[in-house]
């Protein structure tokens, strides 16, 4: 019934490991939030890991990524060191944004990770611009832009889809449809709940994918990446997924049934993928535990790193409001 995982063992286990790394990182972040070590808004991706993992493994290393405030996983998968992510959430100088951004504003120039955007739908037109530059400069890198289904109600999203289609720009629009925007269910926010139909009408090819299945995500993204390159056009993927946790650490979750959450948890991406791997003989329980332990160790090392990291000196506060003049 379930198609076998079509990858060599290394790669197949790598996907699982990356999902575990995100999961452990965020579970730990939630604890640290409880302890007051992390503050501000913290949006967890738990339950949605298959999307970032499957999708980002289909991108080239130098493709650009634009994400949202729920972006720990995307940052990690794009290659931002876990240490730098954790230190950022701690507000430390060694953080990937020198402690100035926090959880919602992870940035990394080296890996072309363009954030971390706390304005819903704010990333879409930015991605369009990055893709425009790439096209005009004759490059071949694409820009992947992640956002939630709620963002599609914003005018910014409509304008961006149109621009990308009109100018045939290499943007991969990755919509993480987790059914809710904070407490607002999709059907209460958009008359058109078939997101692909909505997007296609803008002239952007679109496909819907099971976002709980890392293999499906990966395959669909690979195909979409090819389409972007071959068709010189944008592409839209709807990943049907679910967030297992509250929207943020303040959300009392009044708007959805516990039963619904439990139902989705049964389809948890780590759980089901590892079962699949086991059924196929690519993984056994000790192997799973080893991967888990490895992820946990990486997280603990990141915590230790962040704990030890120093604060940005207050004297530097006004730096980088403007770019310092280069010495001649």
């Amino acid at each position: 019934m379930i198609a076998p995982v079509p990858y060599p063992q290394d790669f197949a286990l790598g996907l699982l490991h990356d999902m575990l790394r995100i999961r452990r990182l965020e579970e730990r972040a939630a604890e640290l939030y409880g302890e007051g070590k992390i503050r501000g808004f913290l949006h967890l991706y738990i339950g949605e890991e298959a999307v970032a993992v499957g999708a980002l493994h289909a991108l080239a290393a130098d493709d650009a990524v634009v994400a949202t405030y729920r972006e720990h996983g995307h940052a990690l998968l794009q290659g931002v060191p876990m240490n730098a992510i954790m230190a950022e959430m701690y507000g430390r100088q060694a953080g990937c944004s020198h402690g100035r951004g926090g959880s919602m504003h992870l940035f990394d120039a080296r890996t072309r990770f363009f954030g971390g955007n706390a304005i819903v739908a704010g990333g879409l037109p930015l991605a369009v611009g990055l893709a425009l530059a790439e096209r005009m400069l004759g490059g071949n890198r694409l820009t992947a832009c992640f956002f939630g289904e709620g963002a599609l109600a914003e005018g910014a999203a409509a304008e961006s889809l149109n621009l990308a289609a009109l100018w045939q720009l290499p943007v991969l629009f990755c919509c993480e449809n987790n059914l809710y925007a904070m407490g607002t269910a999709l059907a209460r926010s958009q008359a058109q709940t078939d997101l692909c139909a909505k997007v296609q009408a803008f002239g952007v090819p679109a496909r819907s994918v099971d976002g709980m299945d890392v293999v499906a995500v990966h395959e669909a993204t690979r195909a979409a990446v090819e389409q972007v390159h071959a068709g010189h056009c944008p592409c839209f993927l709807e990943f049907r997924t679910y967030r297992f946790r509250a929207h943020s650490m303040f959300d009392p979750e009044l708007y959805r049934d516990k039963a619904e959450v439990e139902e989705w948890k049964k389809r948890g991406p780590i759980h089901s993928y590892s079962a699949q791997l086991k059924a196929q003989g690519l993984l056994d329980e000790p192997g799973f535990l080893a991967l888990e332990a490895e992820a946990a160790a990486e997280v603990e090392a990141a915590v230790a790193f962040a704990e030890a990291a120093s604060l940005e000196p207050v004297e530097t506060l006004m730096n980088d409001v403007y770019t310092p003049e280069r010495s001649p």
């Binding site: 501000g40 507000g91 430390r92 407490g183 607002t184 708007y255």
Partner: protein
């Protein structure tokens, strides 16, 4: 008197308005099922139903503009824009329609709209979630700007705002939601005047919204050092209550504005300009100000604190004025 919080006082104001006038309704992102991002509207959906507690899509421009249309159509909308940071998406309808419509139609159409939003920093929410733009909005003719800093104002400003035929922006400071205290239910709340919150003789601290508490703490500390600071709560940022401001400054002959807006072009500048224009020869020292540093508000706690007006800075500036 009853013990309550700023959040609950706001909710009480909403509940009273909804109960009193069937034309009043509340709309905005997550005001209903979620219970309000800051839980201000929690329970109101159950009480008033989904017609009147209306969850909106993420479409700040359209639902603010629809609020204007609904006001023209005979309702009394309260539109919640989750935070001032997102209101930038709705600036076009706010400035180009709500603020202009009455004048440009030759007085035919008023826009009885109230827009509520959370403002301010102090909770480590970083650059895109920490703006203090209420003073900046106060530049726009045709709008009225309110900044409740007390429990009484949190509860009591809404109803007179709804009675007013013109568009009104009501800024709730995010750091005040948990403020607890005794709410004086008998206090008559107007939406026109500034108020002296602490009387004093040596200088006037002019504050509002999120900075009122800091100014009062500073005044307390100054009192300990023998300096008597009057603390003025602006309450209404547009139109400014010049009479009350100037009466106080003429008495104390020294003014310090405490403003969470970025210094350049902040409301503090306007207040200083007005004081100078109207009371130059009554001053014993140039009016001064303590504002936010001109920097996108950073996440790290120590940096955020350094970027915002704080009590020690206010105290020091006050002493500077006197020395």
């Amino acid at each position: 008197m009853s013990r309550t919080t700023y959040r609950e006082a706001l909710r009480q104001g909403l509940r009273e308005a909804l109960a009193r006038d069937p034309r009043v309704f509340l709309m905005g992102e997550d005001v209903g099922r979620y219970g309000g991002t800051y839980a201000v509207s929690k329970g109101l959906l159950e009480e008033f139903g989904e017609q009147r507690i209306r969850d909106t899509p993420l479409s700040e421009l359209a639902f603010v503009a629809a609020g204007i249309g609904a006001a023209l159509g005979g309702l009394r909308p309260i539109v919640e824009v989750m935070t001032v940071n997102f209101s930038l998406l709705a600036l076009d309808p706010l400035m180009n329609t709500a603020a202009t419509l009455r004048h440009m139609s030759g007085g035919q159409f008023s826009v009885p709209l109230v827009v509520r939003m959370a403002t301010g920093a102090g909770r480590q929410l970083a650059a895109q979630h920490s703006h203090s733009l209420e003073g900046w909005y106060a530049h726009i003719p045709g709008l009225r700007i309110l900044a409740p800093a007390t429990l009484e104002d949190a509860r009591g400003m809404l109803w007179p705002a709804l009675q007013d035929p013109d568009p009104m922006l009501l800024f709730e400071h995010g750091a005040l939601y948990n403020l607890e205290g005794e709410l004086d239910e008998r206090e008559v709340v107007d939406i026109h005047s500034a108020r002296v919150r602490r009387a004093g003789t040596d200088l006037t601290l002019i504050a509002y919204g999120g900075t009122l508490g800091k100014a009062l703490s500073a005044a307390e500390q100054l009192a300990g050092e023998g300096i008597s600071a009057e603390v003025l709560d602006l309450r209404v940022l547009r139109p400014l209550d010049d009479a009350t401001i100037l009466a106080s400054v003429r008495r104390t002959r020294r003014a310090l504005v405490v403003d969470e807006g970025w210094r350049s072009g902040s409301l503090s500048a306007e207040i200083i300009a007005r004081i100078v224009e109207q009371a130059f020869y009554d001053l014993d020292a140039p009016p001064a100000r303590v504002c936010s540093l001109e920097v996108p508000i950073p996440y790290a706690k120590h940096l955020e604190e350094a970027a915002l007006p704080q009590v020690p800075g206010i105290v020091a500036a006050a002493k500077g004025l006197l020395g």
